[in-house]
């Protein structure tokens, strides 16, 4: 009973949090004339966000309840839920800080998009078969079913493999699961059960090998469910890992279907589902797949915001959701903190560049307020955790040793060699490395037809991922551990963290007039953002 309530609270909390930031106005170039309405919520997009965001809320609630010494978690859940609901109702009552404001989409943008003022199908409908597609010599009718069949076979294979791996390894399959994440969850759950401050016992320097400085999104969420369940059932972290893995696939597919159409979404989803390491780590109960989800969510929302800007809609909801995602990334793993800093730097930098280039006041740093504001709550929680709960991390040694390492060319060469070789080994693909395959797709499909003009969000996302990888490079240079050991046991996981975002950005870069839109003009107009781009870029 208590577990059922906890599941409901978790899902509803995630849904309410997403809804709270969801942009007003329709997602696509369509509007009810003169009327303001709530954003056409793509059920699939919201569904793919709801569970991970709910788990983020759950972990924070658990952590704050322990700090406050509150033992009745379900009561805290109820209060949280009521608070989110009240905030949502308040926002419905008036345009909130993240709302589009009364203007919504301007009718002119609809006209530019093709003159249609009829409500277009919601983005999720792009998953519907292209019934109206005309079969031509250069657009064979069999292509659509082949891509669809390939996708669904990949889904089936991934589901089969993930479920069997979960059943075969209910405690996870690797040291990090029981030596870090589930151990932290046990300390939180069992320590909290003892009362007092015993939930802090795991943050001891005596067990520094368990990385007690790692943030608490996963352990906190697991401990929350265990507390409701009354025992530390290994099924909880296993199911959470599974949900994160398939939520990542869902988010990738749904967002790309909105921006580039069904085929593109299916191909991108296939690329992720067919990455054996992704499914492996998703079921190993490591934090890398959850982190990859929040990286992807941040990047996806920045790119969705780009499209909103193109349609002259001033909504900042996507920016707020991007900020929340980056905050949750930082609450998942220390690498997420690096990503958060990278995204802030990259977004500010790109906004300034765009502003200078276009000579307009729009796109100034002030427009980033929703992004930064949405990050603040998580940053505050993380700072408190790092300052008052966790011991110092083990990655940095004394300055003279670090300087010595930074000046050692052999370390640079070692990291470069590993980065280069991992590019081809990464993912454990059969025959053709996934990275090569993605590069091949980009070369084959990406450079003909209409030119895409990427927005600041897209460029900032590229820059942030590059900065994050550069940050990882610097950490390898400075690591107090044996550099080869460190590279061997972590580099593939670090690459995996950015892999869904990389797939997303590559498919977003593919020419929209080529493969990655529905195949008829009518269907092109049904894409929420595609017509706008096609109009403005030609």
């Amino acid at each position: 009973m208590a577990l059922g309530l906890a599941v409901i609270f978790c899902v509803v909390s995630g849904f309410l949090l997403v809804s709270l930031c969801w942009p007003r106005g329709p997602l696509g170039p369509t509007s009810r004339k003169g009327g303001e309405k709530w954003g056409a919520p793509d059920p699939l997009l919201k569904a793919s966000l709801t569970v991970p965001f709910g788990l983020g809320v759950f972990s924070v609630v658990f952590f704050l309840a322990q700090i406050a010494g509150i033992r009745k978690l379900l009561a805290v859940d109820l209060v949280t839920l009521a608070g989110l609901l009240a905030a949502l109702m308040l926002r419905r009552g008036r345009a909130g800080p993240f709302g589009a404001g009364p203007q919504g989409l301007k009718p002119s943008s609809i006209d530019l998009a093709g003159g249609s003022t009829k409500a277009a199908p919601f983005p999720g409908s792009n998953f519907a078969p292209n019934r109206g597609a005309k079969a031509t010599k250069n657009n064979p009718a069999w292509l659509e079913p082949v891509v669809s069949a390939g996708f669904f076979v990949s889904v089936g294979a991934a589901l089969y493999s993930a479920v069997l791996r979960m059943l075969a390894h209910p405690h996870g399959n690797g040291w990090d699961a029981f030596a870090i994440w589930n151990l932290h969850a046990r300390f939180l759950f069992l320590g909290a059960g003892l009362g007092g401050e015993h939930w802090r016992d795991g943050y001891s320097t005596l067990i520094a090998w368990s990385h007690p400085d790692y943030p608490l999104l996963l352990p906190g969420a697991i401990a929350h469910f265990w507390s409701c369940l009354g025992r530390n059932d290994p099924a909880v972290p296993a199911i959470i890992g599974f949900l994160f893995a398939f939520s990542t696939v869902g988010l990738l597919c749904v967002t790309l279907s909105m921006l580039r159409g069904r085929r593109c979404a299916l191909l991108a989803g296939m690329a992720l589902l067919s990455t054996p390491t992704f499914i492996d780590l998703g079921t190993w109960q490591y934090a890398d797949v959850p982190l990859s989800f929040f990286f992807l969510a941040t990047v996806a929302f920045l790119c969705l915001h780009d499209e909103r800007v193109r349609t002259d809609s001033r909504s900042a909801g996507f920016l707020a959701l991007g900020g929340l995602s980056a905050g949750f990334a930082a609450w998942t793993k220390n690498e997420g903190l690096l990503f958060l800093c990278a995204i802030v730097f990259a977004v500010v930098w790109r906004m300034r560049v765009e502003r200078r280039r276009e000579g307009s006041a729009e796109g100034g740093v002030h427009s980033l307020v929703p992004l930064l504001l949405a990050m603040v709550p998580m940053v505050v929680v993380i700072v408190y955790f790092k300052r008052f709960v966790a011991p110092p991390g083990d990655l940095f040694s004394d300055p003279s040793t670090m300087l010595h390492k930074v000046l050692d060319p052999a370390r640079y060469w070692a990291v470069i060699q590993w980065y280069a070789s991992e590019l081809f080994r990464f993912g454990h693909w059969l025959v053709v490395p996934g990275t090569l395959l993605l590069a091949g797709v980009y070369v084959a499909m990406g450079k003909t037809g209409e030119r895409l003009r990427h927005g600041a969000g897209f460029r900032a996302s590229m820059a942030a991922l590059a900065l994050t990888l550069a940050g990882y490079f610097a950490i390898y240079l400075l690591t107090p551990l044996d550099i080869y050991w460190h590279l061997r046991f972590s580099l593939d996981r670090l690459f995996l963290q950015v892999w869904p975002s990389a797939i997303f950005l590559v498919f977003l870069s593919i020419d929209s007039g080529n493969l990655c839109l529905s195949t008829t003009s009518q269907q092109r107009q049904s894409l929420p953002f595609a017509n706008e781009r096609a109009t403005k870029c030609t």
């Binding site: 069997l164 300390f187 943050y203 054996p276 499909m445 007039g513």
Partner: protein, 147 residues
């Protein structure tokens, strides 16, 4: 409006690239399926056996919180044994050191002679799990604050 290409046409190289892409993805999915462990495969999950089941009896007799010491075998696999001991005994903190009032012994074939470390066997739980006391640290037993 659509640039050089009609929206209804795809260049042949795009079709070929899409087919190659699908084929490569399916190959990789096949690997995923082939490497999926069977439910009753011999190399199955031993984490519960090596942690919760192995240390269950000992945990019931230890204090609920604080710090205990740990001695075990040396070598790389033994590191995993230590981590699993900590996993089983949480929220007790298990310090890999004999310098504590209570010391957990974890050996694959029964507790060795540990007289050289000044430890005294309290109880042998079988399967190589044992509890020792260290008279030199008797005052600091496991009630000491983990932090």
């Amino acid at each position: 409006m659509d640039g050089s290409l009609s929206p209804d046409s795809l260049p042949p190289r795009t079709i070929i690239a899409a087919l190659i892409f699908v084929a490569c993805c399916l190959l990789s999915s096949a690997r995923l399926v082939m490497e999926t462990p069977a439910l009753n495969h011999p190399g199955g999950d031993h984490i519960a056996q090596r942690s919760d089941e192995r240390f269950g009896a000992l945990k019931a007799e230890l204090p609920q919180s604080g710090v205990v010491g740990y001695i075990g075998e040396t070598g790389s696999p033994a590191v995993g044994d230590y981590y699993l001991a900590q996993y089983a005994l949480a929220p007790l903190v298990v310090d890999h050191s004999a310098n504590h009032g209570l010391v957990v012994g974890n050996f694959s074939a029964g507790p060795p002679a540990v007289a050289t470390q000044g430890l005294r066997l309290v109880k042998d739980y079988g399967s190589g799990v044992a509890l020792f006391t260290n008279p030199a640290f008797a005052d600091s037993a496991a009630t000491k604050d983990a932090r």
